[in-house]
Symmetry: D2
Amino acid sequence: MNTIGIGVIGAGRIGKIHADNLLRMHGVAVAAIADPFAGEALAAWAAERGIARVTADASELLTDPAIEAVIICSPTDTHVPLIVEAAANGKAIFCEKPVSMSVEGTREALRAVAAAGVSLQIGFNRRFDHNFRRVKEIVEEGRVGEPHLIKITSRDPSPPPIAYVKVSGGLFMDMAIHDFDIARFLSGSEVEEVFTQGAVLVDPSIGEAGDIDTAITTLKFASGALGVIDNSRKAVYGYDQRVEVFGSGGSVAIANDYPNTAVVSGPDAITRDKPLHFFLERYTEAYRDEMRQFVDSVRLGQPVPVSGQDGLQAELIALAAKRSLETGRPVKLAELAEAGLAAEA
Amino acid sequence: MNTIGIGVIGAGRIGKIHADNLLRMHGVAVAAIADPFAGEALAAWAAERGIARVTADASELLTDPAIEAVIICSPTDTHVPLIVEAAANGKAIFCEKPVSMSVEGTREALRAVAAAGVSLQIGFNRRFDHNFRRVKEIVEEGRVGEPHLIKITSRDPSPPPIAYVKVSGGLFMDMAIHDFDIARFLSGSEVEEVFTQGAVLVDPSIGEAGDIDTAITTLKFASGALGVIDNSRKAVYGYDQRVEVFGSGGSVAIANDYPNTAVVSGPDAITRDKPLHFFLERYTEAYRDEMRQFVDSVRLGQPVPVSGQDGLQAELIALAAKRSLETGRPVKLAELAEAGLAAEA
Amino acid sequence: MNTIGIGVIGAGRIGKIHADNLLRMHGVAVAAIADPFAGEALAAWAAERGIARVTADASELLTDPAIEAVIICSPTDTHVPLIVEAAANGKAIFCEKPVSMSVEGTREALRAVAAAGVSLQIGFNRRFDHNFRRVKEIVEEGRVGEPHLIKITSRDPSPPPIAYVKVSGGLFMDMAIHDFDIARFLSGSEVEEVFTQGAVLVDPSIGEAGDIDTAITTLKFASGALGVIDNSRKAVYGYDQRVEVFGSGGSVAIANDYPNTAVVSGPDAITRDKPLHFFLERYTEAYRDEMRQFVDSVRLGQPVPVSGQDGLQAELIALAAKRSLETGRPVKLAELAEAGLAAEA
Amino acid sequence: MNTIGIGVIGAGRIGKIHADNLLRMHGVAVAAIADPFAGEALAAWAAERGIARVTADASELLTDPAIEAVIICSPTDTHVPLIVEAAANGKAIFCEKPVSMSVEGTREALRAVAAAGVSLQIGFNRRFDHNFRRVKEIVEEGRVGEPHLIKITSRDPSPPPIAYVKVSGGLFMDMAIHDFDIARFLSGSEVEEVFTQGAVLVDPSIGEAGDIDTAITTLKFASGALGVIDNSRKAVYGYDQRVEVFGSGGSVAIANDYPNTAVVSGPDAITRDKPLHFFLERYTEAYRDEMRQFVDSVRLGQPVPVSGQDGLQAELIALAAKRSLETGRPVKLAELAEAGLAAEA
C-alpha cells in the first residue's frame, strides 16, 4: 500500500479533527497543515502528531508534489480560489460545505475541477453517519416502498455567536444545507420546489442580524414525494437530528444517539440522559468514515461518495428557501436562473 | 343524582359507540335512537341495551320533553338543520365534526345555538385522549417554555371507499380537521396562515375523485409559532397519530399506542406488534371521556370542553388549506372573507 | 342469550370491581352481594347499580336458585368453607387467590368441587393481561424456540399495612403466588425445585412481623428450563411487572404499561411519567377479561381458563419457597409431602 | 510528556486490539510484541504499525529496559509465571482475566506484584463501558438509594468451540467472571454467598465436556443486598449484556447497544436491527478506555482502576458458584478456605 500524502488547509476545529482521523489510517501521511494564523500553538500541536510542516501559506502546500490530496477547512470565502488552485495543481480535493456563498462561485469551482480532471468531495458528513446510512440502505432495499414523505428534524443546541451569524450565509446556507443534502440523499430524487416559513423566536439579535432562527421548509421532489424540514438554532436538550422516510410500503425513522442507555426510575419520573450534545459528539464516527472514503477514492481512483454536484444542488435549494422566505411564496428551483440568481454556466 | 335523558341521532358506527358509552354511565338514560334506516337489526340492538324507543324520525326525538340532550352522528349535510331544530327545542347538543361543509352553514348553526342559549359540543375526540391531553398539560405547565414548533403526524391505515371520498369534503375537511383542532388546542394560539403541498400518491382514483391523499401543511400561529402537519390516507403499519411541541424550554412528544409491550428478539431482527390499528382502537377511552364530559357539562350547567367556535375555526383552517392547494400559495385566514369564502355573519 | 344470575361474596375493593365488570356485560345479572359488614353505604352502592339484594349472610346467596355462579372475594380464611358450600349448591365458582393458606384446605375445596361437578376458576388475573397473554402466544407460536430462562420482575409500589402483612401468609403466598402462576403459565412446564434468598430491606417492621420484603427465587422446571423471580414490596416508581422468556430461538420481553407516551426533553434530562401505579390501574382490562371468560365458561359449559389445580400448584411453589427460605437450601416440590407439609389426598 | 515503552505478550485477537489502541495514544510506544507462534504474518502486521520488534520469547521483552509496562494476553496458564517474571523485572502489568485457574496461582501472582511494588491491572473491560460506568455513577450519586437487588443479564451470541470449552475453566471462570466483577463493582459490596442452578440446554456436547451452558446464579452481598445473574452461551439475537440496580430510592437499568436507531414500520411488524453482535463490537470504546487508564496510571504513578484483588475476588465467586453447582446448595465464600479450595496465603 503506497502512502498518500495529504495536506490540510485551515487548522480550526474541524481541520484538526480531519487531521487526527487521517493520522489514524495506515497508508496516509499528513504532510502539512496550512493556516494563516499558524503560530506556536499549532506548531506544538503538529509536532506532537509528527506533522512535519506547518505553514501560513496554503499555496506552499498546494504546489508540494509530495501532496496528493488536500482537505479544505478554511472559511467559506476562501474555498473557490483554493479549489481552483488545488485543481490546477492536480490535487484530489475534499472541501467543507458550502463550496461558496454564490452559485456562480460554486460553478466556477466545479468547472476548474472538471477541467483538471481531479476529484472533489464535499463535506456532507451526515451521509456517513451510521443512522442516516442505515435509513438509506433500508429505503434502497425497498422496505418502505415508494417514498411519499421525507421528514427531517434538525436543531442545534445553541445558536452560534452573532458575529458568525452575520457572515454565515444565513440559516439555510449554513445549517439547513445539511438537511437539504440529506433530503436528496434519502429520497433519491431532486428537489423541484421549496416553501419556507421562518421566524425569529430564539434570539431577537439573530433577527437584527438579518437572519432567522426557526424555520419549517416544505420540499417537493421530482418523484412526486413531499418533504419537510424543521430547524431551530436552539434545542435546550441538545442536538436533535432525526429523519423519517414514509412510503407506500411502510416507514423508517431514526432517533437521536445517546451517551448511554441508562434509564433511572425514580419517585417522580423515569429519566435518561440527554442525547449527544452536538455534531462533534454525534458525528465522531461519521467524520472518520468520511475521511476513510475520501482516501479510498483517491487510492483506488474511484468516484467520491459526495460530489461537487451534490454541493451545488444543496446550495440551490438553500437559495430557493431563502427566496421563498423573502417572497412569502413557494419557489421553484427552475426559476432561480430566470431570476438571475443562479445562472446556468 | 337526577337521570339525564339523552337521544342519539344516527345509528352508524360512531352513534352506537356513543350510545354504549352513555349506557355505562350512572345517571344517564339513553331514551331513544333515531335513524332513517331504522329496522329490525337496530331494534334488536336497542332492545338488548334496554333503549326504549327506536325511530326513523329525528324530530320525534327532538321534541320529546324527556330528552334533555342529543348526540348528532348523522351525515354532515344533516347537521345544521338538526342543530337548529334541537336548539329551538332547548336541547343540549353534541355534534360530530365537521358541523357543516360550508362556513355559512356552521355560522347558522352557531347563531341558532347562541339564540336558544343551549350548549353545543363538537366531536373533536382527540382532545380527550390520554396522550394529547398529557401534552396539553405539559405545555400549560410551562415545561417546554414558549412553543416554537408544533409537529403533527396523522396517517390513516387505509383510505375510505371512493364513494365516501367524493362526499367527504376532501382530505382537509374530513381528516386533517382533527389535526387543525389539535394544533389550536396544543399551541393555545389561533392559526393565521396556511400553506399546503398536496399529492396523490396512494391511489390515483382519489385524484380522479378530485381529492388528494398525501399532504404537508404549514401553519403560522398568531403567537409567532410555526406548525406542520403531515397527512397520508395510507400507512401500511396502521394508524399513526403523533405530535411534538417544541419550545424555548424543551419539547414534548408522544408516540403511538400499542396493543402490548412485547418485544421479540430473534435471529434476524428485534420486532414488536404494530400500533393500535385505527381510531376505534386508539381512541376507545377518549370517546368515553368525551361523552362523560359532555354529560357532566349538561348536568352541572357548565361550558362544554369543545365549543362550536372550536368547530368553526378548524373548518376555516381546512378551507384555507384547500384554497392554498388550489392556488399554490400561502393563504391567510383573514383573506377568506374577502374572497367571499367565509363571510362574517 | 339467557341471563346468568351471579352473586358476589365480599364487598371489598376487588369484589366491587368484579361486580362493576359483570354489570357491564349483556346477559348477566348481578343478583346479590353478600358481606358481613353490609350496611347503608353498601346498600346505596348496590342501589345505584340496580343490584337488588344486599345481605350479610353469604349462605342466603349460596342457596338462591336464581344464582348460577358466585364470585368469592372474601378473606382467604373463608374461601374453603364458601367453596364447599357453593359446590354443594351446584354453583359455578370464581375464587380469588390463594384458595387457602394450607394445602390441605385447598385440596379439600378441590375435592368438593370435583365431587359436585361444578367449575372453579382461580383469580390469577395476570393471565388475562394483554402483555402476559401476548408473551404466552409468542411462546406458543414457537418464536422463542424451547424456553431456557423465564425471568419475572414483580415489585409493588409500597408494602401493605403491617396488620395485613401479619395475616397475609407471607410474601410468597400473598404476592409472589401470582409470579409462580405466571412462571407455570409461560413455561408450559411444572416447577420441580425452588431456591430463595430473602431479605428485609424495605421496612424492619415487616421482619418483626415474621416476613420478608425482598426476595430472589430460582425455579427449576420439569422441562429443564430455569426461572428466576425478583420481588420487592416497595418500588418508589410504582408497580413493576415485567417478564422475559428466553429460549433457543430468541426471547420475548414485556415492559410496564404507562399512563401515556409523552416524553419531555428538557435542559437536564429526558423524562416520562412513571408506569401505571398499581394493580388496579395496570390490570383494569385484565379484570374485565377474567370475568368475561368466567361468564363465558359458565354460559357455554366449557372449562375455566384457570383451574383449581392451577391454584394448588402455585400454592405448593409458595410453600416450597417458604421452606427454602427457612432451611437455606433448594427445596423440591416432591419433598413437601414427605415433610408432612402437603400430603397428597 | 515522556514516551512510555510498552510490550504486548500474546498476539491473538485481544492482544492486537490492545496494541492498536495503544498505538493511537500520544506518548506511548509499542516497543515489542511477543508470541510463541510469531511468524511472517505477525511480522507484517507489526511492520505496518511500526512495531519494531517481534519475538517468540516473552522473556526478551520482559527484560528489555526500554519497556516500562506489559500487556499480558497469552493463554491463562501462562499468566502467573509471566506476572511473576514481569514483577521481578519491575514492569507495570496489565493482565487479561482470569489471572489463573487456581486461587493459589492468583495469590502467588499477587504476592509477587506486592513484593516488587509494581502495579497490576486486571482486564475487566466492562467497568470502562459507557453504560456500566454510568450505572456506577448513578448508584454512587445515590439516585437509587441503598441497593437492594442487582440483576445482570449476560448472554453470548454463540458458544465457543468445544476444544476451548474444555480448557476454559468452565462457564463461571470463563464467562460469568465478568458478571461477578460487575456485581461487586455496582453493588459496592462483597459477595458472601452464592447459589447456582445450571443446565445444559444449548448444546449437549458442552455437557459432555463437563461444563454447563445456561445458569442462574443468586448472590448475597455483605451489605444485605441480593443479586442474580443469568447466563447463556447462545442468544440467537446477539450479545445480551444488561444490568439493573434496584434500591430504596429507585432503579437504574441499561439496555444493549445497537448499531443504529433505525426503526422500520411495515405491514407485519415494527422492526429494528439486532444489538451489537459480540464483545468486540459492544466494548470497542471500553477497550480503548481500559488501555488509556492503564497508561495514565503508569504515567502518573497512580493506583490502577481494577486491582489484582478485584481479579481474585471474582475468581473466588466463580469457585463458589462452581461448588454450588456441584453440591446443589448455596456456598459461602468463607467456606472455600475450610474446604481447602482457596487457602488464605
